[in-house]
């Protein structure tokens, strides 16, 4: 019996060690919640806001930066203006686009029409792209969202922004969400992920640099300022940053309770 108990204790200790290490030995990263269809109010959106939306999608829901980054998994997209006209004339191009805008839309939904040399699927001799159709599957960008990404790519790639803001698109998912109240979120980090704040704002080394770094925002700004900055982002623009970059409709998207959770969190970043 003594041996039996010793073995049981040893087993429990081993399992306890593995569980303890997994809980306390490594950082507990809260994965982002499953993406939700955003309700886009395109009617009042300026082109700058539309481009900013495209950038948010590029860095967030579109998951583009998983591969289009400095690690070299996929081509960088900063030279679209120069590269696209050459690609359209390339004999390997199999699409039907006539200009940059059409090419970009095409490349987002049919990535294999042109594969940049060296970036094709292994064994396909650069005839098949590893990139998925962003309008389907797990990414599932809507037509308006694809247009926003194209606007951002044109803008950041040095091309003229020719894409127009769609006005008459029936956004899929609107029906489902209309009148349907979601539950308030109490975790500030989940809120940051939900509203994709980190696409533009950096906190402790994580996030984009389109907006001000918030790592120590609580040390310099009071709660009233933070509240106003969320609800009316153009009221005061931080030095070195442009107006109209942050969505102006946060007040319609965020619950009062959530706003206070977020303000508390930001005020605590010192």
């Amino acid at each position: 019996m003594r041996q039996f108990l010793a073995v049981v204790a040893f087993t429990l200790l081993t399992i306890g060690f593995f569980a303890g290490y997994s809980n306390f030995g490594i950082p507990q990263i809260e994965p982002a919640p499953p993406p939700k269809e955003e309700k886009l109010d395109l009617s009042s959106m300026t082109m700058d806001q539309f481009i900013a939306l495209g950038e948010r999608l590029f860095n967030g829901k579109g998951t583009c930066t998983l591969c289009h980054n400095a690690l070299g998994r996929a081509p960088m997209l900063g030279t679209i203006a120069d590269a696209v006209p050459k690609r359209l004339k390339d004999p390997r191009y199999t699409g039907e686009a006539g200009d940059i805008e059409e090419y970009l839309i095409e490349s987002l939904v049919e990535p294999s029409v042109f594969v940049v040399a060296g970036f094709g699927k292994k064994g396909t001799n650069d005839t098949e792209s590893p990139m998925p159709d962003v309008s389907g599957g797990s990414i599932g960008l809507s037509e308006a969202e694809v247009a926003a990404v194209v606007a951002y790519l044109q803008d950041s790639g040095g091309a003229e922004v020719t894409v127009e803001i769609p006005q008459d698109i029936d956004e899929e998912g609107d029906d489902e969400e209309e009148g349907e109240a979601r539950e308030a979120v109490n975790d500030p980090k989940k809120l940051m992920a939900m509203f994709t704040c980190d696409a533009c704002h950096m906190i402790n080394g994580v996030g984009g640099d389109v907006g001000p770094n918030l790592s120590k925002i609580g040390a310099n700004r009071d709660r009233a300022y933070l509240r106003r900055a969320i609800l009316d982002p153009n009221a005061e623009i931080a030095t070195g940053f442009e107006a109209d970059m942050m969505p102006a409709d946060m007040g319609e998207q965020i619950y009062v309770k959530e706003l206070e959770v977020l303000v508390d969190y930001l005020a605590g970043l010192k």
Partner: protein, 601 residues
């Protein structure tokens, strides 16, 4: 659990699947939502994958649906892995016994299969619980899957009759089918048992890999009617290979734990010697399967990446990246405990002293390799730490977090474990061939050149190439390791042909603490399987069937690693408790009580 009860459970299972399929047709739960889906549905007769809402997931008060399914699935998988693996090596051990005419092998094979007989019933019960939980909590998912896999699910259930029949004849007929032609009949039954068991595993693997890499369906999930295409999906074979190898390692480790416990509780020397020998063989089986397992895992990961770059990045570079640090702790534990057991086992021979001086160097390499594998790619740092480090990665140590370093580490771990085993095999022998010195020199040169090559490939690709070429080191490194192992084992067999024995091996002369290495191996393997099961399923994220059928349940979010580890730990404790029951019941059958005066004379 009697045969009748087991048959009843499976009869119920077949009935449930049949009813579910009937329900699918009757109520038409899948509404076609796009024109193409309608067209496809019209041409194939199948509907698209349903788009669900949270209301489509029935709940039971006080029960977390996902955790319930998770735990039942994991427990079923552990037992299934055990009962599928043991007959594989029982068959091999029985064949060795037939060839060598050494009855000890036959007795050991019988004892292994005896241990698993109760586990079969538990596997069936847990499989029943799993299918009940799926039907109760995820009815639309199981309906959709059973529409596509109706034939394979039906025949899967029927195959259990064949499995049960062959198993019972194999087990209960062990002492009856002895000698001459009868023994061949018995061995053939063992082969049939393995064939049926492996077929069962392949079918079940098809269903789960379909959820990861769906095939035979269009983008809306409309089934083409080609069942083979759905079964033979992109990740089916990589999972088949990985599970086949892992099951053997896992099964070996569990029977090793059984032998270890019996050794510790044995009172007679002869009994201790028997269970020491049994534990050694179980550990040998576990190590033999453990060595190729990282390669099978690497192949699986590469195929996941090839199927979906996004899923591959989620696996290796996303939130699951930290899971591989936990995995490093477990793999390190597995290798260290397996090696420690071998080193302790060298005490069985008086000739082992010649090799004990090398053990400390092997231990240093194993720990060093473990630390490299343990190094995370991205560190979680404060701003101050980031500034002082000059970025999120250390200049020198940063590349230790990426694949070339991990591959180097695991190849060295495998090679040095093979070296440990070589020393163990040599411990009780004295070579008599004239060219022994030259042979040993070749062995040293072979290992040295191989280690240099593996290190060079790792350092070159880790430090001097850009990201997309960094994984290129893996295949030449693996080939180097395999070549060294094959050549060195072959060479050693020639060197020690006709060798003298130092003395008889003293089975039973091993410290009790070595038995705890076997327990550690079994517990670590169990826990590791649970953890890797979580990641395999978790990389689908919020999809029941990747990109086709979305999970709309409240539990569609990916849990943190700590949460997953807690679920795995609770499940592992339940599994271990059940395994203890299985071991206990295996020996109850041989206990006899003679109650004096109870029965009429």
């Amino acid at each position: 659990m009697k045969t009748g009860t087991r048959l009843a459970i499976f009869g119920l299972f077949v009935a449930l699947v049949t009813l579910t399929l009937a329900g699918f047709d009757q109520f038409g739960v899948f509404a076609a939502e796009s024109e193409s889906a309608v067209d496809a549905a019209a041409s194939t007769g199948y509907g698209p994958a349903p788009k669900l809402t949270p209301d489509d997931y029935p709940t039971i008060a006080g029960v977390n649906s996902r955790v319930a399914v998770w735990v039942f699935a994991q427990l079923h998988l552990w037992f299934a892995a055990f009962v599928l693996a043991v007959p594989i090596f029982v068959f091999i051990i029985e064949a060795i016994g037939m060839r060598t005419r050494d009855k000890r092998y036959d007795d050991m094979a019988y004892e292994f299969i005896k241990v698993t007989i109760t586990a079969y019933s538990l596997t069936a019960i847990l499989g029943g619980l799993l299918i009940f939980a799926l039907i109760l909590f995820y009815p639309h998912l199981i309906t959709y899957l059973s529409t596509i896999f109706k034939e394979s699910m039906f025949y899967y259930a029927l195959l259990f009759f064949a499995e049960s029949a062959v198993l019972y004849i194999y087990y209960y007929g062990w002492h009856w089918l002895q000698g001459g032609f009868k023994k061949w009949v018995h061995l053939t039954l063992g082969l049939m048992l393995n064939a049926v068991g492996t077929t069962l595993m392949l079918l079940a693997n098809a269903w789960l890999t379909f959820m990861m890499s769906p095939a035979g369906v269009d983008a809306a999930g409309v089934f083409s009617g080609d069942a083979w295409a759905a079964i033979h999906n992109f990740l089916w074979n990589p999972i088949n290979i990985h599970r086949f190898v892992a099951n053997i390692a896992f099964g070996g480790s569990i029977v090793g734990a059984y032998a270890a416990f019996k050794f510790l509780t044995a009172t007679a020397e002869k009994e201790r010697a028997h269970y020491d020998w049994m534990g050694y063989n179980a550990n040998f089986i576990a190590i033999c399967a453990l060595l190729p397992l990282p390669f099978a895992g690497y192949y699986l990961a590469a195929e996941i990446y090839a199927y979906s770059q996004q899923m591959g990045i989620t696996l290796m570079g996303g939130i699951f990246a930290w899971l591989f640090i936990i995995q490093a702790v477990l793999i390190g534990t597995l290798f260290l405990s397996a090696n420690y057991y071998l080193w302790c086992g060298m005490g069985r021979s008086d000739g082992a002293k010649r090799y004990t001086k090398y053990i400390k160097y092997i231990a240093i390499v194993l720990v060093g390799a473990f630390l490299v594998w343990f190094t995370p790619h991205t560190l979680v740092l404060t701003n101050e730490e980031l500034k002082s480090l000059g970025g999120p990665h250390h200049t020198i140590l940063g590349p230790l977090g990426i694949m070339p370093a991990k591959n180097t580490a695991v190849n060295l771990m495998i090679l040095f474990t093979a070296l440990s085993f070589m020393f163990y095999r040599r411990a009780n022998k004295i070579a008599t061939v004239s060219w022994v010195k030259a042979g040993n020199a070749v062995q040293v040169a072979l290992y040295s050149a191989g280690i240099v090559n593996i290190m060079f490939l790792g350092i070159y690709h880790g430090y001097f190439t850009n990201t997309v070429y960094k994984v290129a080191a893996s295949i030449p490194q693996v080939l180097t390791t395999l070549v060294i192992m094959v050549v060195s084992i072959t060479l050693d067999s020639f060197i020690y042909r006709g060798a003298k024995e130092v003395g008889p091996l003293r089975w039973g002369r091993i410290p009790a603490r070595a038995q705890y290495a076997l327990f550690l191996l079994a517990v670590s393997f169990t826990w590791l399987m649970g953890l890797m099961g979580y990641i395999r399923s978790g990389i689908r994220q919020h999809w029941h069937v990747l990109d086709i059928m979305r999970d709309a349940s409240p539990d569609a979010f990916t849990p943190t690693l700590g949460y997953a580890a807690n679920v795995v730990s609770v499940a592992a404790i339940i599994f271990m408790a059940m395994v203890i029951f299985v071991f206990w019941i295996a020996q109850v059958g041989s206990n006899k009580t003679l109650p004096a005066g109870y029965w009429k004379e």
